[in-house]
């Protein structure tokens, strides 16, 4: 690195230093948005508290699935509403254009953003699983905690990629916000109503293979590893396909400029 006052460097700035600067700035921005992070935890906590009765647990498929569902709603909220809206707003304000005229490559700018969002997802997942286990009197082994976190990372990646697709296909922050809410509600309903079969077998099947359904299947699978089945493996594969497709759309059509 150079110190101030010297003339220009004759070589590229250090990538590690650039990434650290970006990542620190994005972490500060995440801390600044802590209200949004807290709100993303509130919804899962409400789900956990309102489903603590035996009847509710039975109708929703058991304690482990309820915790999985709660984590999914937290991840959906922070990834599809929080992340997508923040990116759309920063693009609209010209924050990205200002960063793009620096030596930092665009992949680094986006990786830093996504990295910080992954941290937010982990915080939400950990808080929800710890509180969920406490409310529902579950004792999870360190291995199960690790698996829950692993599935949270995969689930977070699915919803982040959907969020990325939203900001890739839509330009205006207002449109991204509105579309994010519609997608959020649709996926949330698929998770709650679709999976219990109340709307018929076709909806149940669609629900089971939706992003919400596949991640719930994975949560259920890792919390009861002895019963891991081919459906669980196929759900894992479906999640990977969702990530590739939505991230592909989001990256392919993403525009750094507002217009």
């Amino acid at each position: 690195m150079t110190s101030t006052g010297e003339s220009l460097v004759e070589r590229n700035p250090n990538s590690r230093v650039m990434f650290r600067s970006l990542f620190e700035a994005d972490l500060i921005a995440l801390k600044g948005n802590r209200r949004s992070l807290i709100l993303s935890i509130v919804l899962p906590l409400i789900i956990l508290l309102t489903t603590s009765t035996h009847k509710a647990q039975q109708s929703l498929g058991g304690t482990l699935l309820i915790i999985g569902l709660a984590i999914i709603y937290g991840l959906m909220s922070t990834s599809m509403l929080g992340y997508a809206l923040n990116v759309a707003r920063d693009r609209d304000k010209g924050v990205f254009q200002r960063l793009r005229v620096t030596p930092a490559p665009t992949w680094m700018i986006m990786t830093s953003r996504l990295g910080v969002q992954v941290i937010a997802n982990l915080i939400i997942s950990l808080v929800v699983v710890i509180i969920g286990a406490s409310i529902h009197h579950l004792t999870l082994t360190p291995g199960q905690y690790a698996l829950v976190i692993a599935i949270s990372i995969i689930g977070g990646a699915v919803f982040l990629s959907i969020g990325q697709a939203l900001v890739g296909l839509l330009r205006s922050p207002d449109t991204v916000n509105a579309a994010g809410r519609v997608v959020f509600i649709s996926l949330a309903l698929l998770g709650i109503v679709g999976l219990n079969g109340a709307l018929g077998s076709a909806v149940e099947t669609a629900s089971r293979w939706s992003p919400t359904g596949t991640i719930m299947t994975l949560f259920s699978g890792v919390l009861n590893l002895a019963r891991w089945s081919s459906t669980d493996s196929l759900s894992l594969l479906a999640c990977m396909i969702y990530i590739l497709v939505f991230a592909g759309i989001g990256i392919r059509w993403f525009s750094w400029a507002a217009e």
């Binding site: 700035p13 650039m18 600067s21 700035a25 600044g32």
Partner: protein
């Protein structure tokens, strides 16, 4: 292709036959320009003439459909990171992370250019521009003049060889504008070269060593402000719009027409 630096030692920036198009609309049409070391160069033009598109191409924000941009001997396509590290940029509408304080913003952009700054150095820099008391404020809470001063500080944090300023005095009061001109002059005296776009003919005449007038994506004329006036003062269209002695503004309107552009 990168050219040998010896051949270009006088030039800090060379724009060769640059064309920019947005869909079917051509914004810049085969423009060539050279900016010399230590020169303050003004790019003038009506709204939509292609100024910002040309500047954005040099900044690496817009990909041209033809031509090349060479900064200090390096083609931007060959090594964009190196070229960007040699340039300081102030965009027309600058926005920074809204959650970051001024101090955190300076630290971020210093890091992006590989410049290490101790807290005391950041304070000293902010003191220079009269913002030391605003160190913990976010960018959006600054006044227009303060934002402009901070943007320029961030654009020059790494002592760039070439500074690109897109309409830097738009919206500033006369005091802030004069202060900015002083800063631009000091940057030049310290060895920097500056390419700026402006709508202010007074600014171009006062600050710039040379100016180019761009219209409909093409360079109409490129001279020193005084030579430009001398060269065109007898043009019929210029004489038509002049009110007394011919000014740079008269030449500008004479060359680009009097109709309002949006």
């Amino acid at each position: 292709m990168t050219q040998p630096r010896e051949q270009n030692s006088l030039q800090i920036l060379e724009i060769k036959d640059i064309s920019v198009a947005y869909g079917t609309k051509t914004a810049v049409d085969g423009v060539s320009l050279q900016i010399l070391r230590g020169e303050i160069f003004g790019l003038l033009g009506p709204n939509g003439a292609g100024k910002t598109s040309l500047l954005s191409t040099v900044e690496g924000l817009v990909k041209p459909i033809a031509g090349k941009v060479i900064v200090d001997g390096t083609d931007i396509r060959d090594n964009p990171a190196l070229v960007k590290s040699k340039m300081g940029v102030q965009l027309q509408a600058t926005s920074f992370h809204s959650q970051l304080s001024i101090k955190q913003l300076i630290k971020l952009y210093a890091g992006l250019y590989g410049v290490r700054m101790a807290p005391s150095e950041i304070t000293a820099k902010l003191d220079e521009i009269g913002l030391v008391d605003a160190v913990s404020k976010p960018f959006k809470e600054l006044s227009g003049g303060q934002q402009q001063r901070l943007s320029l500080l961030i654009a020059t944090i790494h002592n760039p060889n070439l500074l690109l300023l897109d309409e830097p005095t738009t919206g500033l009061d006369p005091q802030s504008r004069r202060q900015l001109w002083g800063r631009i002059e000091r940057i030049r005296k310290a060895g920097g070269s500056i390419l700026l776009t402006t709508h202010s003919m007074e600014e171009a005449q006062t600050v710039c060593d040379r100016v180019a007038i761009i219209d409909h994506g093409k360079i109409v004329s490129c001279e020193t402000p005084q030579n430009l006036i001398e060269k065109h003062k007898e043009d019929e269209k210029v004489k038509e719009v002049a009110r007394g002695a011919v000014t740079l503004e008269d030449v500008f309107i004479g060359l680009t027409g009097g109709e309002i552009r949006d």
